[in-house]
């Protein structure tokens, strides 16, 4: 288990000797650092929510106001310095940008009215963009002008799958249920084997891409200067993962915030709604072979089937949570933080997935043809977007944040505490 070894970088360019440009910085353990500003990186941060960056005067009020910041190498003041100086490498290897839960206690208290919370949000976006594989998809996800491509890909793929379902079925050895052989369902349009193999294939591809991104990221994390000299792990990887997952489930870090407590509530709803929906989806896909539900596995589920109930409750939870998030972002932006395109894309994607899901369900129950088919197709397009673009969108925060939190847990980097050295 004890596989990770952390090495402290020797200056930005691997150099150790001071030059006139070198500035000794406490955040680099007193070593001189050659500041080689990446101006395009600074511009990117300022475009995506970090526009207040340049007003920072480095007073440290933000780090002191932050309820989540550790006592050694606290954040976000040092991140503000790195962002001001365009020190991209330090920011992209920094676990602290992910320990931040964007409560904006730092921003509401900032004497210069900069918004460190929003700057860290912008850095997190750059972080996903930097590590995601393949990079082109991350680029498409991060800019509105590529949105048509993002929508066209699932629409075309799903259209082709529906159009050639019989040929695909023949090739794979499945048949398309027809006429009175089936009860009223979507099966003639998308048979279950088709849906399962289509989404199965793309989920595996997305998962592989996500693993590559997170693997690159975790390698970057080890190079971070925040761990101090020769850090010793205080916990095993699995133990760290366990306590991090417990913290995530409990929303522990969210609820320490003073400024905007409601964010923990909306996230709580969306989080558990998604878990319910994931459980139902796994059950449905594995239905015919799953001993847990085998007995009552008859399509379509009755409204009172426990799985249908769980799905509807989960869907409503996500809907409630995401509506709360939209409301917060629209009307309480000073608390919830500046919302960039990257933020809105995820928020609206989740909303459209649940909204189109419920629309399909209602039209289906009303037996409205062809409306229900159109709604279902649109729903599948959005589901594809949410699922397959996960490694490139803000949705990837679940992977990146968890990775950073596990590493922080492992090296004793907790709120209000120093890295044990």
């Amino acid at each position: 288990m004890e596989t990770s070894e952390i090495t402290v970088p020797e200056g930005e360019n691997g150099q150790d000797e001071a030059t006139p440009l070198d500035i000794p910085s406490p955040s680099t353990n007193g070593r001189p650092v050659r500041v080689d500003p990446d101006l395009e990186f600074i511009r990117a941060l300022r475009r995506s929510g970090g526009d207040s960056l340049k007003k920072c005067m480095q007073c440290g009020n933000c780090s002191a106001a932050c309820p989540l910041s550790p006592h050694v190498n606290p954040f976000p003041r040092k991140e503000m310095a790195w962002a001001l100086w365009g020190m991209k490498d330090r920011l992209l290897t920094d676990p602290d940008i992910w320990l931040c839960h964007h409560c904006n206690d730092c921003s509401t208290n900032c004497p210069r009215q900069t918004r460190p919370g929003d700057v860290l949000g912008a850095v997190r976006q750059q972080c996903i963009l930097h590590y995601a594989f393949p990079g082109i998809l991350a680029k498409w996800v991060s800019h509105p002008k590529y949105l048509p491509i993002l929508l066209a890909i699932p629409a075309i793929l799903l259209g082709l799958a529906a159009r050639y379902r019989e040929a695909i079925g023949e090739f794979l050895g499945f048949s398309v249920p027809m006429g009175d052989r089936i009860v009223y369902s979507f099966a003639p349009m998308f048979p279950h084997w088709l849906l399962n193999s289509f989404f199965g294939l793309f989920t595996v591809l997305a998962l592989a891409a996500a693993i590559i991104g997170v693997w690159r990221f975790s390698r970057g994390l080890k190079r971070s200067s925040v761990w101090g000299e020769n850090p010793e792990p205080v916990k095993g990887v699995l133990a760290s993962l366990g306590s991090v997952l417990l913290k995530v489930v409990n929303h522990d870090r969210f609820t320490t915030c003073d400024t905007d407590h409601s964010r923990s509530i909306s996230h709580f709803f969306v989080f558990f709604g998604f878990i319910a929906l994931t459980v139902v989806t796994i059950m449905v896909i594995t239905g015919p072979f799953n001993p847990l539900i085998r007995g009552d596995f008859v399509y379509p589920f009755s409204l009172w089937s426990p799985w249908k109930l769980l799905a509807n409750i989960g869907g409503l939870a996500v809907l409630a949570g995401i509506l709360l998030m939209i409301w917060e972002r629209l009307y309480f932006g000073h608390l919830a933080g500046t919302s960039s395109y990257f933020d809105w894309l995820l928020v609206w994607s989740i909303f459209l997935v649940v909204a189109s899901g419920f629309a399909t369900e209602i039209l289906h129950m009303l037996r409205m043809v062809p409306h229900r088919h159109v709604a279902y197709f649109v729903h599948l397009v959005f589901v594809f977007g949410l699922l397959v673009y996960l490694p490139y969108s803000k949705f990837a925060h679940m992977l990146y944040r968890t990775t950073a939190m596990v590493m922080a847990e492992r090296y004793g980097r907790e709120a209000g505490k120093g890295a044990e050295s």
């Binding site: 406490p26 007073c59 440290g60 002191a64 106001a65 050694v72 208290n109 004497p111 009215q113």
Partner: protein
């Protein structure tokens, strides 16, 4: 010089107004000095020491009062406010309201009379840290050297005591509010400043923690004529502090409070650090700052303190102050930005370096003058014949104030002579 010059109206009797008044009067020009408090001296006379020389301000202050007292060109009105100014340069007309003092000044009043009174009222001279009776002497260096009656504070018993114990002619309890107009040739606005209200900084705990005080309170605690007789003591238990923190920029340089630098708080805190080091040789002092702004010759003062082993300077703005419920220590949330860590910061007394707010921010002069966004007057004031000096125009120390006041006096004189 013509003897029939109209007088110069000086609004405000602190160090700025007093300086302008004596400078103009001593070269022969008549001055009317209007002060809203019962005695002159404003903020400066409430200080324990001046920086950087560490001499008591009463020393220079007494020289000034002597210059005023001995000069027939100066007419002083205390407990008075300027209600209205009309007219133009060379021919202003000012309406002045004077609140009743109820003390005639013709017969002196013995301290034994004051001791017999029972009423208590907050003592504004000591920032409300103690009380005075309903008849009181403003402070030891008061000019004019007269008692004051706070009629509303007097109990029925007090009224009886005063009637009986005061010598005849000393009091006139029927004295009424007085209003009069004067013709003046020029106006000098020297209305000064007040401390930023620490109640606006709930995170710094002034209202929650008794041992969190302001720099203005510290001056009164250290002053021999203050509420503790010059002993710096923790308000919570009256004990000597052993470990004191100074929190700089408490409201200043803060877009949510006062966006500007208040200019004097760095030196004020360094000066107060010396009060503590002189009073308690073992006490430790830590100064938390964004930048130490001690310009020019004042830098030497700072470097002397840097040499002191018991004084620590930490670069970092304090975000929050809480009291440990068990030990009653004050816990500061702050990042030492040079070390890159959040040190465990516990103290038994904290001084908030609150900044300077111009009095004109909530009591503007009854004239159409140019103010900036924070209520400071623009130097040129926007009206010909009206000049401003000292903290009415920007935060500044005494040394700069007196120079500006002298300049304002000269401009006013030029104005009168232009005819």
């Amino acid at each position: 010089m013509s003897p029939d010059h109209k007088p110069i109206l000086v609004i405000g009797g602190g160090i700025a107004g007093m300086t302008a008044a004596v400078e103009a009067a001593e070269v022969g020009y008549p001055v009317v000095l209007v002060e809203k408090e019962p005695s002159l001296g404003g903020r400066v006379v409430r200080s324990h020491r001046y920086f950087p020389k560490m001499c008591p301000p009463t020393c220079g202050f007494e020289i000034n009062t002597r210059r005023i007292r001995g000069n027939p060109n100066i007419e002083v009105h205390t407990m008075a406010t300027v209600e209205e100014v009309s007219g133009d340069v060379g021919a202003f007309r000012a309406r002045i309201k004077k609140n009743p003092r109820y003390v005639t000044g013709d017969v002196s009043i013995d301290d034994s009379v004051v001791e017999q009174l029972t009423s208590d009222r907050p003592n504004e001279f000591n920032m409300g840290l103690d009380t005075t009776k309903g008849l009181y002497y403003p402070h030891t260096a008061a000019y004019p050297p007269l008692h004051v009656v706070d009629k509303e504070a007097l109990s029925d018993g007090d009224v009886a005591v005063l009637t009986e114990a005061c010598p005849p002619g000393a009091l006139d309890m029927d004295m009424a509010e007085e209003e009069f107009t004067i013709d003046v040739g020029a106006v000098i606005v020297a209305t000064g400043w007040k401390g930023y209200d620490p109640g606006n900084l709930p995170n710094l705990g002034f209202d929650r923690c008794p041992d969190v005080i302001t720099n203005l309170i510290m001056e009164r605690l250290a002053a021999p004529n203050g509420p503790t007789g010059g002993k710096i003591l923790r308000p919570s238990n009256g004990e000597a502090p052993t470990n004191v923190a100074f929190v700089q920029c408490a409201g200043s340089r803060d877009e949510n409070h006062l966006p500007y630098c208040s200019a004097v708080c760095c030196m004020a805190s360094l000066k107060q650090a010396r009060y503590i080091r002189e009073a308690y040789p073992d006490a430790k002092v830590t100064v938390f700052y964004i930048d130490v702004r001690t310009l020019g010759r004042l830098e030497k003062f700072y470097y002397e303190l840097v040499e002191d082993e018991n004084i620590t300077f930490v670069k970092g703005k304090v975000a929050e102050i809480n009291e440990d419920p068990e030990t009653h220590e004050l816990i500061l949330e702050v990042e030492d930005t040079v070390a890159g860590e959040r040190p465990d910061s516990r103290f038994d007394m904290v001084v908030l370096a609150t900044g300077i707010v111009p009095n004109t921010a909530d009591s503007p002069i009854p004239l159409e003058l140019d103010y900036d966004d924070y209520g400071f007057l623009n130097g040129a004031t926007g009206v010909e014949g009206v000049f401003a000096a000292g903290c009415a125009t920007h935060p500044c120390d005494v040394s700069r104030t007196t120079k500006e006041s002298t300049a304002a006096a000269l401009k006013a004189i030029q104005c009168l002579n232009r005819g």
